[in-house]
């Protein structure tokens, strides 16, 4: 049980975050904040994060542009990323699903753990970085969700960074040095 509890409450790694909208091959919205979630299509824990994203999108009613970037490693099969998780994300209104071949875009955003969510302002500044679940795979109210909603509503959130619980987006050997994101 101890191992289990440890696993449940141990957050994933966070890479070098970019404080501004990186030069990724996706377009940032200029009329509203842009939310980006980086996800592993097979991560079971991220299903809770996608569920929380659906909650956020429902509460903000189009006042935020959202992307979910599903990584797809090189050499992966054609259908490797055709998962229920991707289909769940694709089904959320206002959310664009984007493939991130070999995690290039994710690395530019500085995310290493599936479920890592970033919120950028209209002018491209990083407003929030972290997970939107309280623990691994646990849906429900959480600080990340509350912060995003508050920021979009031009309110001051309790925190702008949260722990990310999910699978690693890339093999550690491939990602180089990583750092946990700070609260």
């Amino acid at each position: 049980m101890r191992i289990l509890f440890h696993y449940e409450n141990t957050p994933g790694r966070v890479g070098a975050l970019s404080q501004a909208w990186p030069a990724a091959q996706i377009e940032r919205a200029t009329d509203r904040p842009t939310l980006v979630m980086l996800a592993h299509p097979h991560c079971p824990c991220t299903a809770a994060s996608v569920g929380e994203l659906a909650q956020i999108m429902a509460r903000l009613q189009g006042r935020v542009a959202a992307y979910v970037l599903f990584i797809k490693p090189k050499g992966a099969g054609r259908d490797w990323d055709d998962t229920s998780l991707r289909r769940s994300a694709d089904a959320i209104p206002g959310v664009k699903v984007v493939f991130d071949l070999d995690g290039v875009k994710a690395r530019r955003f500085g995310a290493e753990t599936s479920g890592h969510t970033l919120l950028f302002s209209v002018d491209g500044r990083l407003l929030f970085s972290g997970g939107i679940t309280a623990s691994r795979g646990h849906a429900g109210d959480n600080a990340g969700e509350s912060a995003i909603v508050a920021l979009v509503n031009n309110q001051t959130p309790a925190r702008t960074q949260t722990l990310v619980f999910g699978c690693a987006l890339a093999n550690r050997n491939e990602t180089g040095p990583t750092a946990l994101c700070l609260k």
Partner: protein, 857 residues
């Protein structure tokens, strides 16, 4: 102790048995719930693994992955929680520790699932579900450890790992209390449910115990019933039989259960049996029939078979219940009864035939005298039809004058049960009168009179005519007797004078010539007297008026007297009288002394008269082998032919002797025969023509009277001369001068006797009172008073009462003799007087007086 209680169902049952059943039921529930939990826990374990595998089988890092920790947790933690209680259900099913461990484990499983799901509130329902399943144990105590585990888990994890139990990072302690409260809330109802279930189980146990007791009772009734019982399948095969049925048919229980009822049913009864079964199956009522079963030894049994259909709870036919009772003995009795009934009917038919064809009147009447059955002859007798007679009172037909008598006879019939030869008169339908002779019997049991009757109207008329004729004959006979009596008296009176004076002349030394003449007078007188006597005797015998005095008579004495009398005659004819010498003095016969001697004299007279001169007459006596004495008189006469012998005892038939000089009346042997018959004796004759005749008489032997009495009699011989004591005074009342003179002359020779005479009754009485004579001689025909009146007056007067009176009368009828003897006469002498008898009587009467006088002197 075996305690019995009255359960709610009303039946008696054992409390211990109820407890046992309750415990059995409880153990079954505990074990089944243990098994259920074993399955549930294994399923939970397996389901957890599968769900973990499907929901989060892998954890990823880029393109590489590994088994998700939830899968391992499901395998190992779930296994750690589940395996031990599952094992316990195998080794200790139903044990308390098993269910308590299960209780704890199940709650731990809930805690694990809640933790794995990150405190999803939905997962908490597993707790509630688990509690409900735990309540399947119906043991509210298993809820306690479960509740404790849940509460502790929530409190501990609520404090230290709230996210794992509530899904939130921080939880209020009240939330744990709330969760525990909900658990306890459910516990309350589950405890209530458990307690209710326990009560229901207890009730079921009690009902089951009662049912068992009831079933046991029914089973006992079935097994020990005195009638044969069996549960038979719809195919008629025996499913269950009781002992009585086995004993009835001689098969064992196992033998019977391998057979069908048809196997032991008499072949003739099988179709009826199948029909009965079909009727029951089609909803017919319970059937009860008589059927023949065949015992194992082949014997046929009559049974009463009652069958009913047994249905299951859905109403479908399941079995037949049959009950059989051995009625073989009843059948035998019924058969015997039928035989008896048939015989009775045959007898009744025969009786009816007899009644219908009998010429006699046969009928039965009830106790009230109403006709119950009548024969055809009844219709002819009374003129009514049978229908008119039946039910009618018999007394209604009786002639009114005879009703009272008939009712009395009916009473006698009921008392004695039988009457015979009862005659009464009836009125026929046509009004004519009939005489009916009845014989009847009364059955007290059946209250029935059985009567047989004859129409005796004609017979009654004939009898009446005969009765009248007889009365007429009796009157004529009486007149004849009266005539003979009068003739006898009128003849005897002159004969008395003839013989009396003849005898006096003979005693007065007459000359030879006078003696011869006197002898003729006396002989003729005696012949005439004999003739009169014999006629009278014949008359008396024929009219039944002969009076005999049967007494023991010594044969030798009678013979000697008779022979003594006959010797002069025999000597006169030169006939030799041969007698055995000496005569046996010890032989006595029962006879009238005088009549017996009369018979002997008659036979001897005949023998002497009809024997030739110088003939021989042999007299002998001997005892027969039959208790009788035979006296035989044989002569050497001409004998009697056999043709004449048959007429020998016919009165006045002298068989031709009237042509001979032998005198006779032809009445002697006839009189002898009648006298012998009157003395219960017999007389007979054997005769050979030319050689003589042998007459015999037989009389019953008698015992010898006392010798002293005989001696006294012998000593009482007459003493004509007296002893010379004081003179005796004799008073003689007689109106006939000849008779008076005769007595005076007879007594003149007796110097010790003084004679006083009177020719009138009243004068005689006065003389008697005055002189107190020693003896009175009384004639019955006196001019002023009849002799019996004189005697009566003498008896009534004190002075004359003791004087002995001797009647001297020509009336020799025994009735007259008895009458006067009863009136007080001492002796009765008939005219003509026998002088020897006369003096013997005087001496006999006067001897005591003379003895007294001698003593006084």
């Amino acid at each position: 102790m075996f305690e019995m209680s009255l359960g709610a169902s009303g039946g008696n049952y054992s409390v211990e048995r109820a407890d046992e059943l309750f415990e059995q039921h409880r153990q079954e529930i505990l074990r089944s719930t243990d098994r259920l939990f074993a399955k549930v826990m294994f399923f939970q374990w397996l389901a957890g693994i599968l769900i973990a595998f499907f929901v989060a089988p892998l954890t990823w890092a880029g393109q590489s992955s590994q088994i998700h920790i939830h899968v391992w947790a499901a395998i190992f933690l779930g296994g750690a929680i589940s395996i031990f209680p599952i094992w316990l259900t195998r080794i200790w099913p139903g044990a308390a520790v098993t269910r308590y461990v299960i209780s704890v484990a199940q709650m731990l499983m809930s805690a694990l699932l809640i933790a794995l799901t990150g405190g999803r509130i939905e997962t908490h329902f597993h707790v509630f579900g688990s509690l409900v399943i735990l309540s399947f144990y119906r043991d509210w105590r298993v809820l306690i450890p479960a509740t404790i585990v849940v509460a502790l888990d929530h409190f501990v994890r609520g404090i230290y790992l709230p996210y794992s139990v509530y899904g939130v990072l921080a939880a209020s302690p009240l939330r744990s209390i709330e969760h525990a409260g909900w658990v306890i809330f459910e516990d309350v109802f589950l405890v209530i449910s458990c307690l209710r279930s326990i009560r229901e189980m207890r009730s079921i146990a009690n009902r089951t115990a009662a049912l068992e007791a009831s079933e046991q009772g029914f089973r006992q009734i079935f097994e020990e019933a005195p009638i044969g019982m069996a549960v038979v399948g719809l195919d008629e095969s025996f499913n269950r039989v009781n002992t009585t049925l086995c004993q009835m048919v001689g098969y064992s229980e196992s033998d019977l259960t391998q057979r069908t009822t048809m196997d032991i049913t008499c072949e003739d009864d099988i179709p009826q049996g199948k029909q009965n079964a079909e009727e029951l199956l089609t909803g017919g009522p319970r059937s009860s029939v008589e059927r023949r079963y065949i015992r194992k030894n082949g014997e046929v049994l009559w049974m009463t078979r009652t069958a009913c259909l047994m249905r299951d709870v859905d109403g479908h036919p399941r079995n037949f219940l049959i009950m059989v009772e051995d009625i073989s003995e009843r059948k035998l009795a019924e058969k015997a009864l039928c035989e008896s009934k048939r015989e009775l009917e045959a007898a009744h038919h025969a009786n009816q035939l007899i009644m219908d064809n009998s010429q006699d009147v046969i009928c039965t009447m009830d106790e009230w005298g109403r006709f119950v059955s009548v024969s055809a002859a009844c219709e002819q007798l009374w003129g009514y039809t049978s229908a008119e007679l039946l039910g009618r009172f018999h007394i209604d037909l009786v002639w009114p004058e005879d009703k009272a008598m008939t009712n009395q006879v009916l009473e006698v019939l009921r008392l004695d049960g039988k009457i015979t030869d009862f005659v009464n008169r009836y009125t026929r339908k046509d009004g004519t009168l009939i005489d009916v002779l009845w014989s009847a019997s009364w059955s007290e049991t059946d209250k029935i009179m059985f009567c047989v009757a004859h129409d005796v109207t004609d017979r009654a008329r004939i009898e009446k005519a005969l009765r009248e004729a007889k009365d007429e004959a009796d009157r004529a006979n009486h007149a004849k007797s009266e005539f003979l009596s009068r003739i006898s008296h009128e003849l005897r009176t002159p004969l008395n004078a003839i013989l009396g004076f003849g005898q006096l002349l003979e005693r007065q030394n007459p000359t030879e010539t006078q003696r011869t003449r006197v002898g003729h007078i006396i002989s003729a007188g005696r012949h005439l007297l004999n003739l009169i006597n014999e006629v009278l005797d014949i008359s008396r015998v024929e009219t039944g008026n002969l009076r005999l005095s049967l007494e023991p008579v010594r044969v030798a004495e009678a013979l000697e007297e008779a022979l003594s009398l006959m010797r002069p005659l025999a000597a006169e004819r030169g006939t030799e009288l041969l007698t055995p010498a000496p005569l046996d003095q010890s032989c006595y016969v029962m006879a009238d002394r005088q009549r017996f001697k009369q018979v002997l004299l008659n036979l001897l007279t005949n023998a002497i008269k009809y024997s030739p001169l110088d003939g021989k007459v042999r007299v002998s006596s001997s005892a027969t082998g039959s208790g009788a004495m035979r006296i035989v008189v044989s002569d050497t006469g001409a004998g009697i032919s056999s043709e004449k012998l048959v007429r020998l005892f016919t009165p006045f038939d002298r068989l031709g002797a009237e042509q001979t000089p032998v005198e006779g009346t032809g009445l002697g042997l006839a009189l002898c025969q009648r006298l012998m018959q009157a003395m219960q004796g017999s007389i007979g004759v054997n005769s050979t023509l030319g050689q003589g005749s042998t007459f015999w008489v037989e009389l019953a032997c008698a015992d010898s009277p006392l010798e002293r009495v005989a001696s006294a009699k012998r000593n009482a011989s007459p003493s004509p001369n007296g002893s010379g004591a004081e003179k005796l005074t004799i008073l003689y009342l007689e109106d006939n001068l000849s008779n008076l003179t005769l007595i005076e002359q007879m007594l003149a020779e007796q110097p010790h006797i003084q004679l006083i005479t009177a020719m009138q009754g009243q004068l005689g009485i006065e003389l008697a009172r005055r002189h107190s004579p020693d003896l009175i001689l009384l004639d019955l025909h006196l001019p002023d008073l009849p002799g019996w009146e004189v005697l009566s007056r003498l008896q009534r007067h004190d002075a004359t009462r003791e004087i002995p009176v001797v009647i001297i009368s020509a009336d020799a009828t025994s009735r007259q003799r008895k009458r006067l003897m009863a009136a007080g006469a001492r002796a009765y002498l008939t005219k003509p007087l026998d002088m020897r008898e006369f003096f013997r009587v005087i001496d006999e009467i006067c001897a005591p007086r003379r003895a007294e006088d001698s003593v006084a002197a």
